[in-house]
């Protein structure tokens, strides 16, 4: 395929993904907006006013970057895992498999689709947060790079989960039992400085902690970890997961007999 044909194929996959999640907006775009608004009201306003300051900022300001990141992570992952698994389930994945689109273009298309949803939700949550607090950006490039790379990373994670899944239960196991606990324990609602030393050490092996703090650094200028270490970690994981996903595609894991 020529470079132009590859571009057309990539755009086709992305457009189809965007069409999918916007067609079912009541399942994809609305719920995170409602959930995050509840978080802002309950944790930010009601409970947050009694907590006072954290990391030098009032509690609402402190949790906003974490909540935005949480929405980006779960939606990037959720978009790819549900879309790709549905295609496997309905066998419409065969439309792609019989076509000359190379595997890396398929992967890039799905990741871009997941990012489109993750970042759209991130934007919606950010706009909603402005109704509750004031956001000032400390380091714009850090904000943009961290959120883009995190979204890409979790889209890749969703893709691998969908490749391995054989039934619908399999696509909810990772989000429920791994992603959600890691996100909640990843410093969204608290600074790990509050934890005893042992649990601070345990928290440091949670990759989501680095993403949340990298993003928080970009917005507030405060972080529990070095933001550049965060970026490095995300990049390493992206390369690793992309390699795994491409290998699975090449072997036809779960999609070819």
């Amino acid at each position: 395929m020529t470079l132009h044909a590859l571009w057309v194929a990539f755009v086709t996959i992305v457009v189809r993904e965007v069409r999918r999640f916007t067609r079912i907006w009541a399942q994809t775009l609305l719920p995170p907006a409602v959930t995050m608004t509840l978080y802002f009201i309950i944790f930010g306003n009601l409970i947050g006013s009694r907590i006072g300051e954290m990391g030098g900022y009032d509690y609402m300001q402190f949790i906003v970057p974490g909540l935005i990141m949480m929405a980006v992570i779960t939606n990037s992952y959720g978009n790819v895992v549900s879309s790709f698994f549905s295609m496997k389930f309905q066998r419409s994945i065969e439309e792609l498999l019989v076509s000359p689109v190379p595997n890396w273009t398929i992967l890039a298309g799905y990741v871009a689709g997941g990012m489109a949803r993750g970042l759209s939700i991130g934007l919606i949550v950010t706009l909603l947060s402005l109704a509750f607090t004031r956001l000032s950006i400390h380091n714009l490039p850090m904000v943009v790079i961290t959120v883009f790379l995190t979204s890409a990373l979790f889209s890749l994670g969703g893709f691998i989960n969908a490749m391995l899944a054989t039934k619908f239960d399999d696509i909810s196991i990772v989000p429920t039992f791994i992603l959600t606990p890691l996100t909640y324990l990843g410093g969204v609602f608290y600074s790990i400085q509050m934890l005893p030393e042992f649990w601070q050490g345990v928290s440091m092996v949670n990759p989501i902690l680095y993403m949340v703090n990298g993003f928080r650094y970009g917005i507030l200028g405060v972080s529990d970890v070095n933001p550049f270490v965060s970026l490095g970690m995300i990049l390493v994981f992206i390369v690793l997961l992309a390699a795994i996903a491409l290998r699975m595609l090449a072997r036809g894991k779960g999609i070819r007999h």
Binding site: M1, T2, H4, A5, L6, V8, A9, V11, T12, I13, V15, R16, R19, R23, S86, M87, Q90, R91, S92, E94, E95, L96, L97, V98, S99, P100, V101, P102, G252, R256, H257
Partner: protein, 315 residues
Amino acid sequence: MTCALEIKGLHKSYGDGFKALKGIDLHVNEGDFFALLGPNGAGKSTTLGIVSSLVNKSGGTVKVFGHDIDTDLAGAKLNLGVVPQEFNFNQFEKVFDIVTTQAGYYGIPLKQSRVSAEKYLKKLGLWDKRNTPARMLSGGMKRRLMIARALVHEPRLLILDEPTAGVDIELRRSMWQFLEEMNRQGTTIILTTHYLEEAEALCRNIAIIDHGEIIRHTSKRELLQQLSVETFVLDTEQELPAAPELEGYRCTLNGEGALEVDVTKGQGLNPLFVELEKQGIKVLSMRTKANRLEELFVRMVEDNARENAKGEGRV
């Protein structure tokens, strides 16, 4: 002549040791209308699955218009359109989107893909349904949608796996006409079907596969010449009380009261009519019984099953 599909020594084994294909060879020329026939589980869909890269092969080579799927898979795929046996599109997407999206996967820009989608949706009588979600279509429409989708990138080789399964007679005939027109315009067509009448009506060359092996690969004409006896059904003016005695011919009355006459190869029909005339039986119309290919097919598959049983020592 250019070879549209060339398969050599194709093997497919599964993890449990089951051998779906045992080294098949197949050769389909450009412009051919080719039927791959065989009973359920014979290996037809596995063969076509490997050609369209939905199934990984265990051995052998496959070339589509000279493009080896091991070394130039994209080249092979660009020349290939596939209509699978089961519906495999997103049921929630609109008809037009399904076809244009498929074109996009082949790198065809949206403007061009819209023109091509319109052309094939119109040809297949689906243009009025272009904005309908696929799940709202009837079974026959869904089959036609898969044909439109397979043709949107104008492939030189079209593979159809049971394209008319579950389709009513009228629609089946119109699909035949469409496929014949595509073939006349130069598209090479390979189909699998359980309706042997379909293969007899459409195809020029035939391969019969059974237990993962090609047991016959020849022209339809040559295959049909092997039939030594052909049965004709004669509708008579008067209802016959019993089958008449006709010298040299075996006659029976079928359940509808029509006369069935077995005619041996080379025997001819003239003496039959002389005999009928002698007995004062007036014939109103005549047709061949069922389809001849079906008869041959059943015989070949049964012979092959007997051979296999002998080989395994359980005659």
